[in-house]
């Protein structure tokens, strides 16, 4: 049986994982592909592609950070559960 705090952390972790999936969705990758040489060329197109690639990298990094944070929350939840199971009173249930 899990503690209240541990459950809260797991809820936050699930939220972050869902958010990470949204952030890292393939929409920008699709945009990068659609903005390629077949569509347009020239300085404006180059700038657009640069912007989209930078945006893609930034969102990927933010998604990774969300997943890392979710893992941290889950690990802390597990630790709280373990501490609670060792406690004679089983406090904070």
């Amino acid at each position: 049986m899990s503690t209240v705090d541990a459950e809260l952390l797991r809820t936050r972790a699930r939220t972050l994982r869902r958010l990470a999936a949204l952030v890292q969705q393939r929409v920008l990758l699709d945009l990068c592909r659609r903005a390629g040489d077949d569509t347009w060329r020239g300085p404006l197109a180059e700038h657009c592609r640069d912007d989209l690639r930078n945006a893609l990298r930034r969102l990927d990094a933010e998604g990774d950070e969300l997943l890392r944070q979710a893992q941290v929350f889950e690990r802390r939840a597990d630790e709280l559960d373990m501490v609670a199971s060792l406690s004679p009173t089983g406090a904070l249930r």
């Binding site: 969705q25 929409v27 945009l31 659609r34 077949d38 060329r41 404006l44 197109a45 944070q69």
Partner: protein
């Protein structure tokens, strides 16, 4: 060379996909603090799509420059040459490589598209600077600023390169006259190298005039409302890179258009220096350009609030006037004003806290100028008038520094520097081929050999560790007398080195009990000193030494 082109169907699909992507990004919300970074990033990307790229692509599709009638690059010709892709050789660009150009004629981007795009980008830049300043510390803001600048440059270059050329008519980017002054100045910064100086100056003048026309009390244009480089700052920095354009601009601009537009005095300084440099124009022209500006600045000087950039106008003029220093004094008539007005102007410059330093910083230019002055007449004799002008200029500067209560130590160092420069001129005239001839004088102390320095220290002309600083300063009160002693000492040293005077010739020079504030007494002592060489030196040698003394004789 690469190509610019687009397939309207695919570009439209890209725009629609951007719309749906922006909507998806808008759904990324969370109140969890751990998600703050991701939410912010998603919002920024959505903003990038909605504010920058969707409007830009929308413009492209609405204007459709490749498909518009009369472009010579209509869809049919392009599609027929390379199948389903809509390409044309409209202008060269950097970066992407493209398919083989078609044979169609060059196609200009419509002015209205350029104007609208430049204005959008310039407005975005102004808004960003208003929030983050001209040099954002926030990395994201800095990156956005750089991206905007890159886009402005790309649009401007693409536009200018695509302008149809007829015959030998100079390139004239008409669209820049329709864009906001800020947008036009930013665009000009990217394409100035492609324009002829007169075109650059003419467009620059019209940009500044438009800026003024809508800028009463500095509230008209967007760039007039934030603290940072505005259209005039950017424009003047561009003009300063092209001295011919800077001169042309200064010939035609009204003083207010030059002096009351920028947010900082530095671009004004750069413009004045570039447009009025001695290598650029002659003395008379310099006066025609600078005198009206000086008069306007001095007339308006008391009117500006403390934080107004015009408060620093004297610094700008210090840099521009120093190369023409003699026209503030002995050569004032060449500029159509009198000596009083010239010397008052020098006092005005020195009244500013940065004036003395600015003059000192510009001294190298003045040295270059006098180094190019001829000090030997056609008959081989020293040009007394030219040297007199130099000596008088030196004395005028010293007097102005004294009146302005410039720190005595600074003044001493400054005047020594000046005195050596002028003395170098004298030596180059008196001893042709000597160590101080020609541009070697630029080095300032090039002729100050150890023997010369030791003698000057012994005589108290230049400060030495053994002497009280105050005494040395007192000795420098009479600048022309000091310069004469330096010049004569170095000239004697040169003749000693050549074997034309005895090795101990300098030892015989004594100024004890001579009042250095009394030029006649100093001259008399020096004449007596040179007379002692008459029995042992060639007449040409002693005549050269007398010529040096004569050049500094007030009664000559």
């Amino acid at each position: 060379m690469s190509l610019v082109g687009y397939d309207p169907v695919l570009v439209d699909a890209l725009r629609r996909r951007m719309r749906s992507a922006a909507d998806e990004l808008a759904a990324i919300r969370s109140s969890d603090p751990a998600a703050a970074g991701a939410v912010t990033a998603a919002a920024a990307v959505r903003q990038l799509l909605e504010w920058t790229w969707m409007p830009a692509i929308g413009d492209l599709l609405v204007v459709d420059p490749l498909g518009r009638p009369g472009s010579g690059a209509g869809p049919s010709s392009m599609w027929s040459s390379i199948g389903s892709s809509m390409w044309s050789s409209i202008w060269p660009a950097t970066g992407a490589t493209g398919p083989t150009p078609t044979n169609g004629p060059a196609c200009a981007i419509p002015d209205e598209m350029v104007v609208r795009r430049l204005d959008e980008l310039a407005d975005a830049r102004a808004v960003l600077i208003a929030s983050h300043g001209p040099h954002p510390e926030d990395p994201e803001a800095a990156a956005e600023l750089a991206a905007i600048d890159a886009r402005i440059a790309a649009v401007a270059r693409a536009y200018v390169t695509g302008i149809p050329r007829t015959g030998h008519a100079p390139l004239y980017p008409r669209a820049l006259l329709e864009a906001s002054p800020y947008a036009a100045a930013l665009a000009l910064r990217a394409v100035h190298d492609q324009l002829e100086p007169r075109t650059l100056a003419a467009i620059g003048l019209m940009i500044v005039r438009r800026w003024h026309a809508n800028s009463d009390h500095r509230t008209g244009w967007l760039d007039a409302q934030f603290f940072g480089p505005n259209a005039a700052d950017i424009l003047f920095e561009v003009l300063a890179q092209h001295p011919d354009a800077a001169t042309w601009f200064l010939r035609r601009a009204q003083p207010r258009e030059v002096l009351d537009a920028t947010a900082s005095i530095d671009p004004v300084t750069a413009l004045l220096v570039a447009g009025t440099a001695p290598g650029q124009i002659d003395e008379t022209t310099a006066g025609q350009l600078l005198v009206p500006l000086v008069r306007w600045a001095r007339d308006h000087d008391p009117l500006w609030p403390e934080d107004h950039p015009l408060q620093d106008t004297p610094v700008a003029f210090a840099a521009a006037l120093t190369p023409w220093m003699a026209t503030l004094g002995p050569r004032a008539d060449r500029w159509g004003w009198d000596r009083d007005e010239g010397e008052d102007t020098l006092d005005w410059v020195l009244d500013h806290p940065g004036g003395a330093q600015a003059i000192h910083d510009a001294l190298a230019t003045w040295k270059e100028r006098i180094a190019e002055t001829g000090f030997v007449d056609a008959d081989g004799r020293i040009a007394g008038r030219a040297l007199h002008d130099l000596a008088e200029t030196l004395e005028m500067i010293e007097g102005a520094f004294h009146d302005a209560r410039i720190e005595s130590i600074e003044r001493t160092a400054f005047m020594i520097d000046l005195a050596f420069t002028v003395a170098g001129m004298v030596i180059s005239a008196a001893v042709p081929g000597g160590p101080a001839t020609g541009r070697a004088v630029d080095a300032g102390l090039a002729f100050a050999t150890p023997a010369v320095k030791a003698t000057l220290e012994r005589l108290g002309i230049i400060p030495s560790p053994e002497r009280e600083r105050a005494a040395a300063q007192a000795d420098l009160q009479r600048a022309s007398t000091t310069t004469l002693v330096i010049a004569l000492t170095a000239t004697v040293s040169t003749f000693v080195d050549r074997g034309e005077l005895p090795a101990d010739a300098l030892d015989a020079l004594e100024l004890d009990e001579v009042d250095m504030d009394d030029p006649e007494a100093v001259h008399a002592r020096l004449v007596a000193y040179v007379d002692t060489f008459a029995p042992v030196a060639a007449p040409a040698t002693t005549n050269a030494l007398f010529a040096v003394i004569g050049a500094f004789d007030d009664d000559a």
